[in-house]
Symmetry: C2
Subunit: 515 residues, 2 copies
Amino acid sequence: MEITQALHRAVQQTPDLPATIFGDRVRTWAECHDRVARLAGALQGLGVGDGDRVAMLSLNSDRFHEYLFAVPWAGGVVTPVNIRWSPAEIASSMEDAAVAILFVDDTFAPAVPAVRAAAPVVTTVVYCGDGDVPEGMVGFEDLIRRGDAVPDARRGRDDPYGIYYTGGTTGTPKGVVLSHTNLLASALGSTASGAFTNPGGRYLHAAPMFHLADGAAWVARNVVGGTHVIVPMFTPAGVAAAIAQHEVTDVLLVPTMIQLLVDAPEAADADLTSLRNLLYGASPISEAVLERAAKRLPAADFTQAYGMTELSPVATLLLPADHGVDRLRRSAGRAAPHSEVRIVDELDEEVPVGGVGEIVCRGPHVMLGYWNRPDETATALRGGWMHTGDGGRMDADGYVYVVDRIKDMIVSGGENVYSVEVENALAKHPGVASCAVIGVPDDEWGERVHAVVVPAAGAAPGADELREHVKGLIAGYKAPGTVELRDALPVSGAGKILKRELRAEHWPQGDRGVS
Amino acid sequence: MEITQALHRAVQQTPDLPATIFGDRVRTWAECHDRVARLAGALQGLGVGDGDRVAMLSLNSDRFHEYLFAVPWAGGVVTPVNIRWSPAEIASSMEDAAVAILFVDDTFAPAVPAVRAAAPVVTTVVYCGDGDVPEGMVGFEDLIRRGDAVPDARRGRDDPYGIYYTGGTTGTPKGVVLSHTNLLASALGSTASGAFTNPGGRYLHAAPMFHLADGAAWVARNVVGGTHVIVPMFTPAGVAAAIAQHEVTDVLLVPTMIQLLVDAPEAADADLTSLRNLLYGASPISEAVLERAAKRLPAADFTQAYGMTELSPVATLLLPADHGVDRLRRSAGRAAPHSEVRIVDELDEEVPVGGVGEIVCRGPHVMLGYWNRPDETATALRGGWMHTGDGGRMDADGYVYVVDRIKDMIVSGGENVYSVEVENALAKHPGVASCAVIGVPDDEWGERVHAVVVPAAGAAPGADELREHVKGLIAGYKAPGTVELRDALPVSGAGKILKRELRAEHWPQGDRGVS
């Protein structure tokens, strides 16, 4: 099966349905099919042959969607670039993957000279903006205008579809090579869970399209059919307006985005009742945010996905029905219909139910390997299982709890305090928009419960007020000893709150072993 | 991915949920897992090695389910036997596939001596009944009791899962070799359509388990999780009772079974409101039966699947929403989420929209090939597309109309009469349970419209009465010139009405080119 199969099906079944809606620009599947075939012809004219990598550095756009289809259509392999990277990091990945052709939009065109200087391997830059084509680049629309429509190269099955760089915030980025089968297995398997099958629906690309979380939703939407609604990037007002205007039915967000969407005053008036499926990842959702979101999005089912790029990316799903059970909301759900998950010890032996170990995963969605890193690939995939590096435990019903969240625990005066419990209590205060609770060094208690709070618009809750609020809900020793107000929390490209950055300010010797 | 993956997942997530309900016998997924691992150990003890074929000749049972898991767990390949075959046909398939081990139930144990005499390749017969083990056979339960649980051999991906014989009613049976990926692609893709995703649901095996239509539903139910409710074979009362007693949510039936289920007086009192998804295949459903079924099964969504064994088996789906559109009810639906379909001419060129040609199909569900028949495989799969041998046309929205149904046309006095139209009119008469309309030779008109009618219980409608009824609904020249009452219509193992058998009685020189 090929990623492009869905495009053949869409032009046959829904030629006049919008494929993409990007601002005022609407393109049907028939137009999309024609443009992709021409762009692929142009790429072949630029020298793209079987398996050649083609990169894209861009905010979200309809042209990103066309790029994702045209590259395999031409025989090539996509290499979406993390938009948070520095030019040096970008250049390093271009060299690593031997990328000759780089697509850029208006936002990133200014970074091109620095990238080219550091990555001479890049010989052609394709400009995907709407202005005049900058000197030294070729225009995306010019390529389509001049390109001859070519037949689909029919890359598929175990052929690589893309190289996705990962680990950029913790070490040297590694290229994860994912096949067509890898991505389709995750998409079909996740969809078969029943959680977000919605043929003909409208999916909103609010999360960054370079990231595989959104990329996987792109594959799934193509497979079941429907329309891609695209905003350049996440803003509460922009997302709310797009949902309301285009009657969006499906969206993937991270919990911090959900919180911003449901709380932002500038998004308060939008009609969000069209939303049927909200998929979220990166971290569990706090109970307070879940409650507010359920009110604001009355027709939406919530599904949490846990996984990683190496798993294309879905390993487990917490289904809508699971969200009704208190204890399950801290879990990452259970192995998805295409996936097998175990918790193993250092010897790769399965641990008994409830025991903590490493989460490993097996199935057709496990990556082909790391690009040009046979040793690291062999280590990660030893015994036929992908070793996630995440600690976790599993209950008697197969629900997985990621240890990051279990271990996100503060030992204060000999008592264990789980950050998530304090965060849930804090989040119920009307003056709290979002928060993160960490342990910081304390001469008296060993560790002290410390809360970093982003206040709700117009609010400025005091430390005492918040402490009393928490004490009204949970044991007094769990209440934050110190409270710090900030405008925002540090988040990763995937939208995950970077607690290690918060902790680093307090633990100069480095993180205390918890990511 | 392996067919057995779902068993690993089920024992992890729902160990205490019933895996199978067969009469009064209920077995949990934990028991199923244990029994399968032991049976696989016993099979290895009997000499089953990688890729060895193991056959089963049996009505439906919970042991059929265990067989379907245990054979690949042991490393082998399943070979379910068509229960309508003669001992000579069975023996011929045993020899063709070199089957050393044959499982049989009480119903088919008496056929074993004849099969063994004609197929010396069979060295071991496993008795799956509940009585004493017959002389010369080994007992299914004895194998499990004495077998050591072995680890899953993890056959998967492109390894063959099963050999399914097809074409037995039209020529020499050919063995269709299907891989794990083939079957899982069809199951996941069909499920991803949203039409019958129902995690935790209860699927009723009413259609024969040897047939891939039910076999594919078995795979899908395993993948999404839930329970198999099993009756030995279809009877209206038995199926109605099983649905009511076990709150069955999903079932696959052929239209003739649907008609019997909704019309049979002995099934009239059962509570069928638990049924959520009714999947049907083999032929479109008549409007009258659909109407009656919708009333009798108020909570059920109807989905039609079209395909063939070589396609594992689903190619197209007519989704529940499509059933609300009159013209679509004659169609077989559109390419499923894992499938690509085209209509091509004799040169394998795609024909324009609306043109008639051969239906061809492409995707991960296309068989590995015909067992030991490289030439026929190459012909069937030429150009990378499975040539179904079915004629069809496709409309501008990708809906496929199978030509068998288009060509099922009578030319009478120069007028074209479509059988389906006459059948739909006849089926609306209260005295008609089911019917088939064919053309028969007529000296005056060339062909005459001839109706074969199975009367409703207690009814005996006259030819004039039926003719007048039809004339009240459609043009007079379409009314049947002759009417014949019968107790039953001839059907294939898959439940398809065999019009060619009806025609053969009237066209001694053979069928007039329409199957």
